[in-house]
């Protein structure tokens, strides 16, 4: 393997109103290597990669691709030079098929693309790289993990030589993540492809990369070979402070029955049962962890409980009353909270301000009104409180939520849900995309909620999270709950296997 430089960034600086996202950053990527970009939320990783992929233009600095200085005017120019980016938030058209999404905007296909040829090519690619996908499926039908595969295939289809993956494992189950890491090692071993792997998770970074560059507050604070790296040192460099001690699981007295779900069947968007005869109970103050790979019905289960989706069979009983056909509004009135998996598509309005989004469910409350009109002094006071206690980094309460970083969006929605008085919280991937410090904060919040007697359904793919927080653990596989167990007795490997459909108890 020749170690010539594929990408060279020199002195990159980029400021946004109120924040300097990148300051004088140097970064190099060699042919055939995986170079990890490590840093907390808001450290400037995504901004830097958006600059490399032509989406943003740097205020200062130089970009060299294959030794040639370039100045991208659009992402298309970056793509034509072989730079493909897979964003944290997917850029796919939901109503189009996988094939159509992949050829979309690809000029070589001509005016009327030959979709059958494309489909063949995609199948070959997906087999070669172990990225299983149904080419004719519509994107809206796909789970987050599958959408990511489409994004990677899209880049590979365009003959990307540099693949940028922004927090790629945040949507994957552990085994899937492992698979991705292996696939990346394999893809790069032939020397055709180089990968920038953006992440804040130390174990996967050390597992996948050849080199590691650490960003903090928009600057490079360390760059090293991935060779006997000490986690403690690395995390100190990344966070810039001693890492908090992780929360510990706690034993609690069981309260009365809060929620009973009996034989519930919930269809997905296609009308096919995604939740297929699920039954369980949840006690007050109990945290029930539901593990599972994305796309096995967890999302639909959560949405049915909060009234976003209606069940075709079965019953849901909450506090002794049937709520099977509840509406979202009734769910809010009954003190059921919800943290959605992709907050910007369902829980938040990206074009409205931070303050407006924080009162999205509670704007009718008398504390925000004066003479029947919204009182923005009170609203901003309330918002300021949440922004401060949850450490939401925003220059301004009037900033549009769509301009916040992923981690801050997650903090915002959590802050909003926790600001209400809850009895039940359905948390769908609550720490997805959060760094260690922020995840600790969320975990502590959830545990203390449980101690206050709130029942929590924790849907997650992060086994450490599930094990740390849950009193009981269930695994969801193909719409069914398999193996509900007390968390103390579960070993991680077994859960992992159940998630993949192995060892299902019949």
């Amino acid at each position: 393997m020749r170690s010539d430089t594929v990408v060279e960034l020199k002195g990159i600086t980029k400021a946004f109103p109120g924040v300097v996202a990148n300051k004088d950053i140097d970064f190099e990527l060699n042919r055939g290597e995986v170079h990890a970009l490590l840093g907390e939320n808001g450290a400037g990783k995504t901004t830097l990669m958006n600059i490399l992929s032509g989406l943003l233009r740097p205020d200062d600095g130089e970009i060299r691709i294959f030794g040639k200085p370039v100045s991208f005017r659009s992402p298309r120019e970056a793509i034509s030079l072989g730079i493909g980016m897979v964003h944290q938030q997917f850029l796919l058209v939901p109503s189009l098929s996988v094939v159509e999404n992949i050829v979309l905007g690809h000029k070589e296909e001509g005016f009327i693309p030959n979709l059958r040829n494309v489909e063949k090519k995609i199948k070959t690619l997906s087999e070669n790289y172990n990225l299983e996908i149904e080419p004719r499926a519509k994107v809206w039908q796909l789970s987050a993990g599958e959408k990511q595969r489409v994004e990677i295939l899209k880049a590979l289809y365009r003959e990307a030589q540099v693949l940028i993956l922004d927090e790629p494992t945040s949507v994957l189950a552990p085994q899937e993540a492992e698979g991705l890491i292996n696939a990346l090692r394999e893809m790069t071993s032939e020397g055709h492809l180089s990968v920038v792997f953006v992440s804040h998770k130390l174990p996967e970074v050390t597992a996948v990369s050849d080199r590691i560059t650490v960003l903090r507050r928009g600057r490079v604070v360390a760059a090293m070979e991935n060779d006997n790296v000490d986690y403690a040192v690395l995390s100190n460099v990344m966070v810039g402070r001693e890492l908090q001690k992780s929360v510990s699981p706690r034993r609690r007295e069981k309260g009365g029955i809060l929620l009973e779900v009996e034989d519930l069947v919930v269809p997905d968007d296609r009308g096919v049962p995604a939740v297929d005869g699920v039954s369980f109970t949840l006690s007050e103050g109990e945290i029930l962890g539901i593990a599972g790979v994305a796309g096995n019905g967890q999302k639909e289960l959560g949405e049915a409980l909060i009234g976003l989706r209606s069940a075709t069979r079965g019953r849901v009983i909450f506090c002794g009353k049937e709520i099977t056909d509840i509406t979202p509004r009734q769910a809010i009135e009954k003190k059921i909270g919800f943290i959605p998996e992709e907050p910007l598509t369902i829980g938040l309005a990206g074009g409205l301000s931070v303050a407006d989004n924080l009162i999205l469910d509670t704007y009718r409350s008398s504390r925000f009104l004066r003479k029947g009109l919204l009182d923005y002094n009170k609203i901003e006071g309330f918002s300021r409180g949440i922004v401060d206690t949850h450490g939401i980094k925003t220059p301004d309460l009037g900033l549009q939520v769509g301009h916040l970083s992923g981690g801050n969006v997650q903090r915002l929605i959590l802050g909003r849900e926790l600001s209400r008085d809850l009895k039940l919280l359905v948390a769908n991937h609550p720490t997805k995309g959060l760094d260690v410090g922020a995840a600790d904060f969320v975990w502590e919040k959830l545990i203390s909620l449980g101690e206050e007697g709130v029942g929590i359904i924790l849907i997650s793919e992060d086994l450490e999270e599930i094990q740390t927080l849950s009193n009981r653990i269930a695994v969801m596989y193909e719409g069914e709950l398999v193996g509900v167990e007390e968390s103390g007795r579960v070993d991680r490997k077994k859960i992992g296997l159940l998630m993949m459909g192995v060892g299902k108890e019949e």
Partner: protein, 349 residues
Amino acid sequence: MIQISRYLSAISSGLAILAALATGAVLLLTVGLNPARVYYELFSRGMATHLGITETLIKMAPILMVSSGLILAFRAGLWNIGIEGQFLIGAILVGWAAPTLIRVLPHGVALLILGLVGFLGGLLWAVIPAVLKARWGLNEIITTLMMNFVGLNLTTWLVKGPLRDQTVVPPQTPVIPLQGRLPFVPFTRIHIGLVAGIICILAIYIIIKKTTFGFQLRVLGENRKAAIHSNINVSRVTILVLLISGGFAGLAGANDVLGVKGLFQAEWNPGYGFASIPLVCLANFNGLAVIPLSYFFSFLIVGGELMSRAAGVPIFFVQVIEGLMFLYFAGGEYFRKRKAGIHGASILL
């Protein structure tokens, strides 16, 4: 930050206007006209003569009313393209009811009721698209647009048939006597429709910004799923917004019948809807910004008419200016984003 962006947006609109005038000058030169003279006629007659000022301010009233309805709908993400039809239905109902009501009721009461009649007429014409949208998700752009044609033909038939004043030759409703029309603002020749229009736009501004209903429609406009997920009754908001939006168009119809024309005439369609859509966009859907812009648009229409006679330039020239303004504004938005360094879909910090 909000302040800065609003400020920038005002500058951007101002520059668009200047650039449009400059391009217009080039166009005039190419056809052998002296732009200095044309613009002198346009501005001096439109802005510096008693007639120009009065006519401009009178013209503002319906534009302000229509814009109020448009802003409400657009902020909710609902594209009401049916202003023309809603305007005509409101206008013809007022034209039909006015002569009788004005005769039997005290003047003020009659005018208030007629305003309401116009509002209800426009509202009525939005009922079908609103229900179709709320219940079955039918695209309101198509339905409101189609209702325009129905409205136009229906009003033409009504004024040529059942509602026609049999005593005169042209197909029209009976003329409202001068003393029965909208009174003037004291010391001017401008009828009180202007005041009503300004009240409308201010009310809409406050409704959107300050009321819970306004909050609901803003959330709906930004993210329908988020609106459903929080406790917003999307069908109800959709219907209300489209009905009120149509109502304002109907009110503008009442304004023109009671304040300007004094009757409803066959084949009459002033086209306020399609004039106001770009205006509302230029104003960034902000009610306060609509006030100066509606003045400028009215001035262009009125000044254009006066100028065309004096300078020998067809009145269509001002429509060219309007179109150019819109183009430059859109271009300005593009460059504003580019300057911020955003090329693609969104900023992913």
